[in-house]
Subunit: 255 residues, 2 copies
């Protein structure tokens, strides 16, 4: 019986104590065996970063029937790499999942997202991978409306699979009831006023990362920005092949 | 006269003292005004990471005619963001350049590359952006064979421009004489044996990031991996739009 249960590898970038990852664990525990490898603290904004300069640590902090939780000193990408190298012990995960992130990972935010970093890493190792984010930074955000959507997407991803070198970036708008799901492309957005200058009490200037995200032009109906602004769950398929094939053709004529 | 000189914003991920970035500065100084904003220490493997949790600092350490060098405590992406927000002072860079990196940033390495993180950031802000990497980790590597290629590419990029939301990832093979340039797509590769387990003298286990990169199948002639293995300079056009349009169509039929 147990052998037939699905097996999911889970990480996040808000750290293992965050409400979001624990909601994901509680949602999926009845359905699958779970291996959780999550950062020991918030590693938001880490993107695909890996820890190249110092060794990392990894400790088992929770072990129950069908659930193991490891806490790792590295980045989200490190967590998945380490699971792949040392913790899976030959059992192939049916899915790699990350989140639920406290905050929006749509449009250009995806590049900075540690949640997406974990999911890229899963996809790089050939596992079907999916990131979940709620557009609400509140550490006590209400994740319950997401549950049926997550269960539905997880089952569909297992059944249909995902092509090699691709993954899904799923963002939920901040609202009580979603209008449905939309398959989207990533919107082109930009950040302005990205740093706030401040004086250090000890003297000298420091810069705090802040910023305002701005749409480039009116968000178009096929984008994740539009879907979220209109109450839809935005499902953006992502490729790991970042080659610009359009530019490749142009360059072949120029260079 | 000075007003007509091109103006380049430069960063890297090996830190401002690395030989590679100083080679880039020396190569381009005769041709352009340069604003350099580089990390204070090596930030390899940072990808697009940004510093979200602590404020960053930025100090002017060198000022000569047509050259300013700032040292920043943040990541490569932070360096470009900070330059954009506070250091450009209204002067638009003709190019954002990163490198020359000590080490290979081709194929999947591009996802982890802080050099590429700087260049992504330039492209996100709408500047034509280009990363240079030499497939040689030696801190004293010989960069002189790269000079004519860099000058040529820089002039072509200024003249032809680059489409919005795209950038170039240029990798040089480790050899004395290059066979020429090849416009490439990113190869699909994978890392194996990514962590080496070790004992900490104080007790407990730690994991060092190591690993072996492996081609998935035989590298194909149109890839960066193939070009580098055969002595060509690999020029890979990169898009910031990571949407998988192929998968988008499939999902629209499934979901």
């Amino acid at each position: 019986m147990k052998r037939n249960r699905p097996f999911f590898l889970i990480s996040n970038d808000d750290g293992y104590t965050a409400k979001g990852i624990n909601e994901l664990i509680d949602t999926l525990r009845p359905l699958a065996d779970l291996l959780v490898v999550a950062p020991e603290r918030s590693r938001s904004g880490m993107g695909c970063a890996i820890t190249a300069d110092v060794p990392i640590t990894c400790e088992l902090v929770r072990k129950e029937r069908g659930l193991k939780v490891y806490v790792c000193s590295g980045t989200p990408a490190d967590c998945i790499k380490l699971a792949h190298a040392h913790l899976l012990k030959g059992r192939r995960p049916d899915l790699v999942l990350a989140g639920i992130n406290h905050g929006d990972n749509s449009s250009v935010n995806a590049h900075y997202s540690g949640t997406m970093g974990a999911v890229y890493e899963g996809a790089l190792h050939g596992y079907p991978s999916m990131a979940f984010s709620l557009c609400d930074f509140n550490p006590d955000a209400d994740f319950t409306p997401l549950r049926p959507y997550i269960i539905d997407l997880v089952f569909k991803a297992i059944t249909v699979g995902l092509p090699h070198f691709s993954c899904l970036n799923v963002n939920f708008p901040k609202c009580e009831k979603f209008k449905g799901t939309k398959v989207c492309r990533m919107a082109y957005t930009q950040w302005d006023n990205e740093f706030t200058k401040a004086k250090r009490p000890q003297g000298g200037t420091v810069y705090w990362l802040t910023g305002d995200r701005r749409d480039i032009g009116e968000p178009q109906e096929d984008t994740d920005s539009w879907a979220l602004a209109h109450g839809y769950v935005a499902i953006t398929p992502v490729t790991l092949d970042v080659t610009s094939y359009g530019l490749l053709e142009i360059l072949n004529n120029v260079l």
